[in-house]
Structure formats: structure tokens, C-alpha cells
């Protein structure tokens, strides 16, 4: 594995170094460099330290593992591959992602999973181990968001989840009694059938971060789905 010491290296230099090779790479001493692995195709990338904003933007098949926290816009418009964060992440994680998987051990900031979408066989998955901030899954058009609420006492998600949701599914490991959902979605207790869908991703979470799969899948989940794929249809009159 190629090793790059990224301390004292700016993002332009780091980006250039990463584009020069297709080898699996480990970055040490990462200190907030932005755009790491933008558009990166199939290879492994291990990051020690804290990558800056837009880690794995347009990711196209690479597998990234971060030993530390990550900042905003992780996996923005991601197409394929995986991002595993041994820590928490900032805002807009997985913005408009349409493929691949993101696993976060800890918490996510605002607007996680905004405008996630799916098509044909492409199904993006975002798993948040801790709690999610406000505006989770806004405009969600497809894919799956799973929030586990581990390591936290407070509500599993902050205000206004699912606004504008018109596709995909949101799973919250909670009875969601205190959570206010908008009118255009339905929140109900997850059935055994529903839980089958998330089983492989929960197992994968435990592989990445440890944890007891049986107790995870054994707890009550709420599943949220949109009522319509065409939320704006009734809003207009031809002029």
C-alpha cells in the first residue's frame, strides 16, 4: 500500500498525488484537506486524521475508510463505492448520492442524506450509528437511510426530518413517539419484512465498528416512506 504523509500538504498537491497513481493508498496525518478522492474509481484508501469537506465527492467505486471524524459533504453526489467513518461527520453527508454505501460510527450533522436517489439496480445506503441532525433526508427520492441512535440519550433525529420526501425509505431505531414528521410521509413500526431489508447493512455496521447485531435487529424500528412519488402534481394549474 502506498503511504502519503499529508501533513503540510495542501489539497491541490494531495489531489495531484492521488490522481498520479491507481494503487491502494494510506494517508497519514490528514489535516482537513478538502476534496480527497473526488471522483475516485475502484481502489482502497485509508485515511488517518481528519479529512476536510467533500471527502469522496462523486465517488465512483473506491472504498474509503477514515480513522477519525470527517467534515461536511461526505460522499456528495456519490455514485458507487463505500465510505466508512470511525467517528462522526458534519453536514450534508451523502447529498444526492445514488449508489454505494456510507457507514458512520457516530453522529451526523444537518441535512444528512438530502436528495438521495436510486434507479434501476443502484441503491444508495447511508447508515448513521449515532443520532442525526435536523433536516434528515430532505427531498429523499430513493435509497435507504438508517439511523441507529447508539451512544446517545437524546432524540435519534432533530427537527424536520423527511421534508419533501418522495422516494426511498428511512429507518430509525426508535419508536419515534416524540418526532414530528411532515404530512406527506407515513411513519409506522417496521415489520419483520422491513427489517429483512436492512439486515445486511446492520451486519456490515457491526463488522466495521463492532457491536451486537442481535440486540440491534431486536430493537423496535420505525420505517418512514413517502405517500407520493409526485408531490407537486396537484399544485399547479396550466396558464
Amino acid at each position: 500500500m502506498l503511504a502519503i504523509d499529508t501533513s503540510n500538504m495542501d489539497f491541490l498537491e494531495l489531489g495531484k498525488r492521488l490522481r498520479e497513481t491507481e494503487e491502494d493508498t494510506v494517508l497519514r496525518g490528514c489535516l482537513g484537506q478538502r476534496f480527497i478522492a473526488a471522483g475516485m474509481k475502484r481502489r482502497k484508501l485509508e485515511i488517518h486524521g481528519i479529512p476536510g469537506n467533500a471527502l469522496g465527492a462523486y465517488l465512483d467505486g473506491a472504498d474509503i475508510e477514515v480513522f477519525g471524524n470527517a467534515q461536511d459533504a461526505v460522499g456528495d453526489t456519490m455514485n458507487a463505492g463505500s465510505i466508512v467513518i470511525h467517528g462522526s461527520i458534519g453536514d450534508t453527508a451523502g447529498y444526492a448520492m445514488r449508489g454505494g454505501e456510507i457507514y458512520v460510527e457516530g453522529d451526523a450533522g444537518y441535512r444528512a442524506g438530502i436528495h438521495m436517489k436510486e434507479y434501476h439496480e443502484h441503491l444508495p445506503v447511508l447508515v448513521i450509528g449515532g443520532k442525526a441532525g435536523s433536516f434528515l433526508g430532505e427531498y429523499q427520492a430513493g435509497g435507504m437511510i438508517i439511523v441507529l441512535g447508539l451512544h446517545t440519550d437524546g432524540p435519534i433525529v432533530s427537527n424536520y426530518p423527511c421534508t419533501g420526501m418522495h422516494g426511498g425509505k428511512l429507518f430509525l431505531r426508535s419508536d419515534c413517539k416524540d418526532i414530528l414528521f411532515p404530512d406527506q410521509v407515513t411513519a409506522r413500526p417496521a415489520s419483520a419484512e422491513d427489517l429483512k431489508e436492512i439486515e445486511p447493512y446492520l451486519r456490515q455496521y457491526c463488522v466495521h465498528f463492532g457491536g451486537d447485531y442481535a440486540s440491534l435487529i431486536g430493537s423496535p424500528f420505525t420505517v418512514v416512506t413517502p405517500d407520493s412519488r409526485n408531490p407537486y402534481r396537484q399544485m399547479y394549474v396550466a396558464n
Binding site: 471522483g39 427520492a141 408531490p231
Partner: protein, 502 residues
Amino acid sequence: MPGINYFYPEFEVVRNDARCIRCQVCARQCANEVHSYDPERDLMLSDESKCVNCQRCVSLCPTRALKIVKSDCRLRENANWEGDTIREVYKQALSGGVLLSSMGNPKNYPVYWDKILINASQVTNPSIDPLREPMETRVFLGKKPEKLERDENGNLKCELTPQLELSMPVMFSAMSYGSISYNAHESLARASKELGIYYNTGEGGLHEDFYVYGPNTIVQVASGRFGVHRDYMEAGAAVEIKMGQGAKPGIGGHLPGTKVGPDVSRTRMIPEGSDAISPAPHHDIYSIEDLRQLVYSIKEATGHKKPVIVKVAAVHNIAAIASGIARSGADIIAIDGFRGGTGAAPTRIRDSVGIPIELALAAVDQRLRDEGIRGNVSLVVGGSIRSSADVVKAIALGADACYIATAALLALGCHLCRTCQTGNCNWGIATQKPELVKRLNPDLGYKRLVNLMTAWNHEIKELMGGMGINSIEALRGNRLMLRGVGLTDAELRILGISHAGE
């Protein structure tokens, strides 16, 4: 709904029965089902209430038996409450819906292009005949270096940041696959390749068949990120970030699920039948610094090989906005005026939000010059450029190039009936219905676009020659070549031009 909801049709079908041969072409051609044939009475019938005045039947009637006229059944005349204004109230009282319209702002706002006149040489500084003399209309879009630099051996450093090379200062503006048809896109792509210019995918992704036209394609990234992935950005010659659109500044877009068939679904990378919703803002952009982040994430993903364009709508503080964008790392700013077209926009927004492109362009060019950052970016303007004269005036006001879309659609057969939102375009342009799409033959469509641009390019050369200018670069920002007629002091000051006679 309670109440009387009848509107007398806006148009009337006038059929000359002596000429009509009952061939029923009109009935077959009208997707709105205005015409029908009654075999018992051997009569062609019309249901005018469905007519949008797209002129398809008129154009194809073999005996010229048809015409469509504006109905003279009017509401009582009132200069304040015009017929359309009253009808819009009725429609909303009936439906409770937001009014939705298509194409550009039709209201009677000033068109400044028509109040600006171009200079010509007489006696001194002789004019140039483009048929005899070489004339340069080629332009390069992108960041320009501030000064010449030499290396340690005294040789010029020639490395430029990525540039777009255009054979003439006009490109086809963003129109998505979804809002317009496959055949319309093919026509635009092939014409761009033959002309040495660029067309723009809009925010609907790039169909796999059109990757071959990549070197003449600008790919767009909008808030919905439809069809945006690495190969898509790699395929394009430049990447355009859509922040706004002239026809609907401040709001996003919704392609209705009915237009998202298998092909559009694959290209946009969204589920079939699902509304394609572009949120109004990019939810990760709240500042110029955030915009800079998106610009650089695209540059990093494409290896800094492609210019990045930021497109914004012309709004009140456009000069300050452009100044910010010019510092964001973007290579090109595209500004879209409030008369720009659209496949669908809320009527109130289309007709009441934004400012004319002429004023926006002049203000932006001046501001960037005043701040010494004009060379940081190229300026492309659209919304709406209708002719080569508009192009020449735009260049002289400070643009590097123009975007056209409505004019390109007209070349493809659009008759500006302004009902794109129905998806029933009889000319095969703003529709996804296979039986309508096939009416637009891309072999002919692309040639008509090439014809239009070739004619404009010659006219641009004629106008330049008249001014004694043989290179479009020497025209850019050359406002001494312009004079206003019938404009106020404030308008002249903003445009930076003198009144005719001065």
C-alpha cells in the same frame, strides 16, 4: 367546482370548406385533439377549446384551408384588468393552483436591444468587407492571465488554465433531456460539432448516445444533481454549475413524473415515474466560499482539465454576485436574463422576477473592470438573444459570448405557443411521447441549426466590418460602438453608452 367555469376559447379555427379535401392531416397531427372528422356528415369538426395555436395543422394543411386566429370574443375592455389578468383569477378561483407557464416572459417590458444602435465607419477608419478580408469571430472562454510571465530563460510561459474554443461567439443554452426530446438534443449536439461551438445538457444528465459529442458538450450540475457522475463530467468540455435560471430566479424545477420514462430515468438516474425535483438552492451552498467548494470539487474530480461555468439569473444585485463568483475559482460566468425561456415556470415568477440581461451585463462588466478582476472570468449572456444584432450589441456591452435557446428551438420548428408544460408538443421538441418526438427529424433539425448559426456568423462579420473591426476581441466591451435611442439618463448610465447624436 360551483360557479360558471366556462372560458370562451382563446383561438378560433377558421376552415375554408371549399378548400378542405377531408384528408384529415390536421386531425392526425394535432396531439391536442382539436380536429376530428364526422363521416356521417362528411365534415371536419373543431374543438377550439383545446387549441394552443402551435400552427402545426396550418403548416401541414395541403390546400391551405386552415388558419388559426385570435378570438374576438373578449371580456369588456379594461386597461387595468386585461383579459388575461381576469382569466388568471378565474383559473385560480377554480383550481386553487399555482399558475404554470412556459417559455420566456411575454410581458411588455422594455427590450433594450431594440433601443441600442450600432456604429459604422464613414470616410475615416474604413469599413471592411468580410467577403474580401479575413474576419475573426473565434473566441476563447476562460480565465485570462493578468500579465505576461517569463521563465528563467526568458521564454514566455504559455500555460493557460483550461479554455473553451468557439468558432463564433454563440452557444446553445441549457435545455435538459426531459424538458426537450431526444431528437432535439441530437440536433443540438450534431450542430454544435459541425459548427465548432457547444450545446448544454441542462440538468437532466447526458444520454449515453450523446457521449460521442462530448467535446462539444457543456454538462450541467444543478441542485438535484441529476445524472451527475464522474464519467458525465469527464465527457463534457466544460462543467456548468446552475445556480439560477432567468425564467425562474430563486426557485428550482420540477420535471413531472409523467415525463420520466425509461430513457429519461436512466439518463437522470432517478426512478421511472418519479417527479424530478430540483430544490431551489443547492443545500450545501450558503456563501461564495461554499460555491468555491463546489467549483473545486468539480475541478478535483476532473483533474483541473475543464473550465467551470457558474450560471446565475440576472437579479437586482447581479454585479455584486458576479464579483463574488469571479473570486470563487469559476472560469466563466453565465448570466441569464429575465426574458429567458423555460419548459415550465410559475407564471408570477417568470413575469415578475429578475431584470433585463442588457442592464445586468453592462453592470457586471463595469463592476468586474472597476475591481480589476474582469480577466478572472469570461462572461456569457442569454435570455433572450434573438438575432446576430443582439449578439453584436451584447459583445460590445462586454460579453465574451452569448447563449441562445429559444432561437435554436425556433430553428427546430417551435412556433412559440408557450405550452411546453403539457408535454404535447406537436413539433416533437418539448415532449417525450415517441409518436410526437419522431416528427422532429434530427437530420433536418441539425442542418437548420447550422444554417441559422452560419447566417448569424456572416451577419456578425458584416456588422463588425461596418465598424472597421476585424476581430471580435476588439469589439468586446467596446461601448463606444453603441448609442441609445429613447432611453433615460439612468438607463444610459447603467448601459454605459451615450445617446444617439452625442
